[in-house]
Amino acid sequence: MSAAIHNHGSSLKPAYPRAIVLSLASDFGCQLQLSNIADLLDVLGTIKLEYWQLMSSAVLPADYDIAIIEGAVTTQDHIELLQQVRTVAQTIIAIGSCAITGGVPALAAQDLGKHVQAVYSDDADRVAAGRVRPAPISNYVAVDYLVAGCPIDPREFVTVLQGALLGVRQRQQREPLCAQCKTMEAPCFYSIRAAQDIADGMATPQALCLGLVTRTGCGALCITRGRPCTGCRGIAADANLSSARTFIANEGLDVDDFDDALRIYSSHALDDGGEEQ
């Protein structure tokens, strides 16, 4: 994607790039975040929203410029829909961890048959027909822009959308979160380890903070509010997992716990040989 998205329609009045918002397997949380954009009206002044699954019952139009997609791919229908969208849309923006890393839906990828069996028992083939191993959408179609997070940050979405409208290749920060966390001057969770403090009830021995290896960009939102990073933005491109695991072990924490925590959002990358964007 290099060219800016061209305007359509008659030359007499300005026309805006036409956008659709679609959802695959997800909890619609990211779509909900879109409706939380404070400057929504300003943003809508730059695009024409033709279809928004969450907000109206209109049918998917035949033609549009930008497809904003949330959710993981879990069915054959999803694959076909994506392939169809890719032939129409000039630009695909993937939003949220389900779409980008496979997210929580991808947790079911291991032993998928067993999970389906457990839920639908003998009816599985009828009710859950056409299922595929849950995967990020980039497994099936090229993605031009992405907005990470669970859920996404609406402000980040606006920035990415603007880049797409200008035809600017998205800048992908590859480093993990720690630098941003330091910039926010949040005390590190890995320093709550003095055994005496724990014994004295001064500190809790938890602190499996995944910021060490997680894609940056959230501004250390959780950590500054008192929660360790859960890795919702996926694994950073430059993450050094082996060194991070060594650190975890040296801290007296369990490396398997660390990997399990990472799996909540990055099981596809860790177990399915999936490639991070």
Partner: protein, 288 residues
């Protein structure tokens, strides 16, 4: 002209060195499929008067909302009131200016860095070698030598490109081939039907180069991989490494020695460079 000159000019104008001067695109020439030559005019008259540069210096080009990129100046320092930038469509900023039209406004900061040591080179022979987009910074020096032809001895210019379609300024240089006061040779790796000249790497042309090593300065611009080979050829002609100048590529973000992005070894490409003598360059870690 050096970084200190520009610093002085900025102080004289009482200006914030991060603030670009608005400049209008006055002409656009499509050179190849991916390169265009942009002629720009600084809009503010005072700024235009203070703006002077030497061949090899660069400016920071701003496309607002997208960002900045360092671009070397291609026009001759003697060209008053306008600067020319030869820009390949490769990153976000360069793609953006490729979509702009005449009359559009961009931002310019600079000129930054140290150019070719033209005062030292004057009254000597010069051997100028460019490969690919390396012609962009070298073109300014070639133009300078052209405009001040009497101040230089023998002038030899060697140009190389992957194929004829990518040979920048080809039409202009085709005309120079017949001139007596320039010894100009061109070569391409992959010839096509339009090409009846030399075929091969630019180093091939050295067979036909005859220089007086005690009276010659060399200048090389091109992809980093080219430098050792061209320098080797120059060394075979007994040219000293401190008389060979190269232009180093880095992502200069601020242009004023603060942001750290363009550091090579212990120097900054945006202050002590981008033109270094080859001796300096091989003594800077990872310079080329």
């Amino acid at each position: 002209m050096t970084a200190a000159h520009t610093a002085k000019a900025y102080r004289k104008l009482g200006a914030n060195p991060y603030r670009p001067w608005p400049a209008r695109i006055t002409s656009i020439t499509q050179l190849t499929a991916t390169e265009k030559l942009f002629e720009l005019r600084l809009i503010d008259e005072h700024v235009r008067e203070e703006f002077s540069f030497t061949a090899g210096q660069f400016v920071e080009l701003s496309i607002f909302g997208i960002g900045e990129a360092p671009i070397s100046i291609s026009s001759a320092p003697s060209k008053q009131g306008f600067i020319e930038l030869c820009i390949r469509q490769t990153g976000t900023v360069t793609n953006a200016i490729h979509r702009m039209r005449c009359g559009d406004v961009v931002g310019i900061r600079g000129p930054f860095g140290r150019g070719f040591p033209f005062e030292e080179m004057e009254n000597h022979d010069v051997l100028l070698v460019a490969g690919g987009l390396g012609i962009a910074p070298l073109k300014s020096l070639i133009n300078h030598v052209h405009d001040e032809r009497h101040a230089f001895g023998k002038v030899t210019i060697l140009l190389g490109a992957r194929n004829p379609a990518e040979l920048l300024f080809r039409q202009e240089f085709d005309m120079w081939k017949h001139r007596q006061d320039f010894d100009l040779m061109m070569t391409v790796d992959q010839p096509d039907d339009s090409w009846d000249g030399e075929v091969g790497l630019v180093t091939r042309l050295f067979d036909r180069v005859d220089i007086d090593p005690d009276n010659t300065y060399g200048a090389i611009c091109g992809p980093p991989v080219m430098y050792p080979f061209v320098v080797e050829e120059m060394r075979k002609k007994h040219l000293d490494v401190d008389r060979i100048y190269v232009s180093v590529e880095r992502r200069m973000k601020c242009g004023i020695g603060m942001c750290g992005h363009c550091a090579v070894g212990h120097q900054y490409t945006c202050i002590e460079g981008p033109v270094f003598s080859y001796w300096e360059a091989i003594n800077l870690r990872e310079a080329i």
